[in-house]
């Protein structure tokens, strides 16, 4: 039987590092993914992902299973990313990694890379909170209420942030593509 994340977290609170190891294994891809999409650089993303897990370990004694574990982790990662972006700007856009999941032709690779760079630049033009809302909505597929919980805000505020982010993204993409 698979042990639930919430149960593992309670074990971590009692000092069980084996349970923590299991949580890191289960969620490393998801935490890394958010940090990478938000920050755009692998070194920064790894730092934030690592810090997120260490924050999780530190917060374990205060964790109450009333909140879903995933939401709890979303909140830690999004807060770290936003704080990081506020302290440090701009984010690199040249070092985007090559895609390795398929074997497109060199011309296709170029098109894909150009498209990723355009999106990256447009995302970087957003405020850190707007960027996080876009990532959680479009790439993580969260609902407004889940985004609100992850970012410690209201559903209405998420709707407003997303509306403004969409307007800015559209005008940025238009400008970049001209």
């Amino acid at each position: 039987m698979v042990v639930r994340d919430e149960e593992l977290m309670l074990a971590v609170a009692k000092g069980d590092l084996g349970a923590f190891d299991e949580l890191v294994l289960r969620h490393q891809r998801f935490v890394w993914g958010i940090a990478f999409r938000f920050l755009g650089g692998p070194a920064e993303a790894e730092d934030i992902a690592q810090e997120a897990f260490l924050k999780l370990l530190e917060a374990a004694p205060r964790y109450r299973p009333t909140a879903g574990f995933r939401t709890y982790l979303y909140r830690i990662v999004s807060r770290l990313c936003i704080d990081y972006a506020r302290k440090k700007r701009p984010i690199p856009t040249d070092g985007l990694p090559e895609r390795t999941d398929c074997s497109p032709s060199p011309a296709e690779v170029l098109v894909i890379k150009e498209r990723d760079t355009e999106i990256r630049r447009a995302l970087d033009a957003l405020s850190s909170r707007q960027r996080m809302v876009v990532i959680l909505k479009y790439y993580e597929g969260l609902r407004y209420s889940e985004i609100a919980q992850a970012m410690g805000t209201t559903v209405k505020a998420v709707e407003r942030l997303l509306g403004r982010a969409r307007n800015t993204l559209q005008s940025s993409l238009l400008r970049i593509r001209k």
Binding site: G15, L17, F20, D21, V24, L25, Q28, R29, W32, G33, F36, R37, P42, E46, A49, Q50, F53, L54, L57, E58, P97, R99, T100, D101, R115, D116, I119, R120, L123, V134, K137, Y138, Y139, R143, Y144, E159, L162, G163, R166, L169, Q170, L173
Partner: protein
């Protein structure tokens, strides 16, 4: 309903977050307003632009190991932090208590053998049968480097001191 109000609903409408009772109002307006319909299409096309972009590479190798190493350091700092000074009650022979039983026996036997060899040789490695410093010992100590030495040189003083030490040793 005015366009401005409808536009404020469009994001929630596209995302399926608009309450059921408001959806028909928005749809009725969109059916007759080209401006709001264009705005809706823009929002939808943005979703198309973002889809299949910003691909995430694999998690870096050794990520979990690095996280766990830091976690252990935080949870048990005394196990990984180097101590600048010996702690109170420091025991220089503690290392022997940390060895396994066969290794402890081997260490004791080695030390015992070293003591026996040292005692039984009694200077035999250095002095020959006449009690003089043997040629091999001279070689061993590098004394041959000073022979022949000019009088008054550091080498001659060194040889004189070595000879004096030998005589004292023989006299005892």
């Amino acid at each position: 309903m005015r366009c401005r109000k409808i536009i404020s609903y469009l994001n929630a409408y596209v995302d399926g977050e608009l309450p059921e009772r408001q959806r028909p109002i928005v749809e009725a307006h969109l059916a007759k307003c080209a401006v709001c319909l264009k705005r809706l299409e823009d929002i939808r096309s943005l979703e198309g632009s973002l889809n299949d972009t910003l691909h995430v590479p694999s998690v870096p190798d050794g990520f979990v190991t690095r996280v766990m190493r830091e976690a252990r350091r935080i949870e048990r700092p005394e196990a990984t932090m180097a101590r600048p000074f010996p702690p109170m009650g420091w025991n220089p022979l503690r290392w022997i208590t940390e060895l396994s039983a066969p290794m402890r026996i081997a260490a004791c036997v080695t030390m015992l053998l070293a003591c026996i060899v040292g005692l039984t040789m009694d200077g035999g490695l250095i002095l020959d049968k006449q009690g003089q410093v043997s040629r091999s010992a001279k070689n061993l100590h590098g004394l041959e480097w000073f022979e022949p030495t000019p009088s008054g040189s550091i080498g001659s003083i060194y040889i004189a001191m070595a000879a004096q030490t030998n005589e004292e040793g023989n006299g005892q």
